[in-house]
């Protein structure tokens, strides 16, 4: 494989190797918290924070952590940062923290984060790992934002809590519930596939 430049390392997470649309990782929080744009954004930022900090530590200690216990070590590092993010959200934005519920602690088992540690941070230097983490986090946040915007606009007629649809707009109740999440994500993935197929052709 060709050596990537620093910028490519950053950009790949946003589209080419987008964690949700292409790698299909971290789907649980993606589906669960995207009922409102605000929640999607908060979730994306919390996950990006955890991803950045863990990638930094893992890449710093990559030569010290013994191979056999590396997964356990990564998980403890991730769990620590998740606790910090969780307390931070609970202290500063208690409403969002409440509506995200158990999905903030569930960042621990978000496969994107563990996956990046295993596939990237444990093999690359700090600078590159941070760029990679930032790109992946941004890609994750963007998809969450798009998904939650679609669901919030169609499901409750608002965007970030503001009314944006016309007066007589009938809300699609199903969009803010479970089926809406699955179907919207299915369409987004199909859309990404379609665009990629077009670009290659």
């Amino acid at each position: 494989m060709k050596e990537k430049t620093a910028i490519q390392e950053f950009v790949k997470g946003i589209w080419d190797e987008n964690p949700i649309l292409v790698q299909l990782l971290g789907l649980c929080p993606t589906l669960a918290v995207t009922t409102a744009a605000e929640n999607g954004l908060a979730m994306g930022m919390a996950a990006t924070f955890v991803l950045l900090c863990s990638s930094f530590l893992v890449s710093m200690f990559r030569k010290v952590i013994p191979g056999q216990v590396r997964i356990a070590a990564y998980i403890v590092i991730i769990a620590t940062f998740v606790t910090i993010a969780d307390r931070f959200l609970a202290a500063f934005v208690p409403d969002i923290s409440k509506s995200l519920g158990p999905f903030i602690p569930l960042i621990i088992v978000n496969c994107i984060i563990l996956g990046r540690q295993e596939a990237f941070a444990s093999k690359n230097g700090i600078g590159r790992s941070l760029l990679d983490a930032l790109g992946m986090g941004l890609g994750f946040t963007l998809v969450l934002l798009v998904l939650s915007s679609i669901r919030e606009i169609l499901g409750s007629g608002t965007w970030f809590g503001m009314n944006i649809m016309w007066e007589s707009f009938a809300e699609w109740g199903v969009m803010s519930q479970a089926p809406g999440a699955f179907i919207t994500l299915g369409c987004l993935i199909a859309g990404a596939n379609w665009i990629n197929a077009r670009r290659k052709a």
Binding site: L24, L25, L106, I108, V109
Partner: protein, 190 residues
Amino acid sequence: MNLLVIFIGAALINNFVLQQFLGICPFVGVSKKVDSAFSMGMATTFVMVIAAMVTWLVYNLILVPFNLQILQYVAFILIIASLVQFVEMFIRKVSKPLYDALGIFLPLITTNCAILGLALTSVLKEYSFTETLIYGVGAGIGFTLALVIMAGIREELELVDVPKSFQGAAITMIIAGSLALAFMGFAGII
């Protein structure tokens, strides 16, 4: 009666996969064949029930008395990871055929958010020990049910002409959406 409500609630009404979005990764990854979906479901149920009990004990007997709730996440994930390792060794010793059947699914269970989600929700809902146990069994059965239904549909799907962009994950999501819609029908039963 209360226990029955918890059981049905966890298995059907608030089905872990289809209504609460926990354990989506194995749901998408391992639902290609009915056999393996069933094995995965059983292995997960097994770990879920044990994990629910152990995390309940650790939370209520160690973390709460010492005022260490802040360590909850780190403690839970360590318990689950070591539990999965332990269960793996135990099954290998006791029943070789079962071990071969479960194969690679066992280690994957560590990163199944349904397990951690279960432990966290039962703490959040302040369930008693028995309630936690029933909740775990119900959630496990609900998980298995969703996985097996999905695998059944996907086996049929192989014969169907799906539009190119929708092949793979996209169509799986759409089907999961329809299943979730069907499961919403259970909402009225309790």
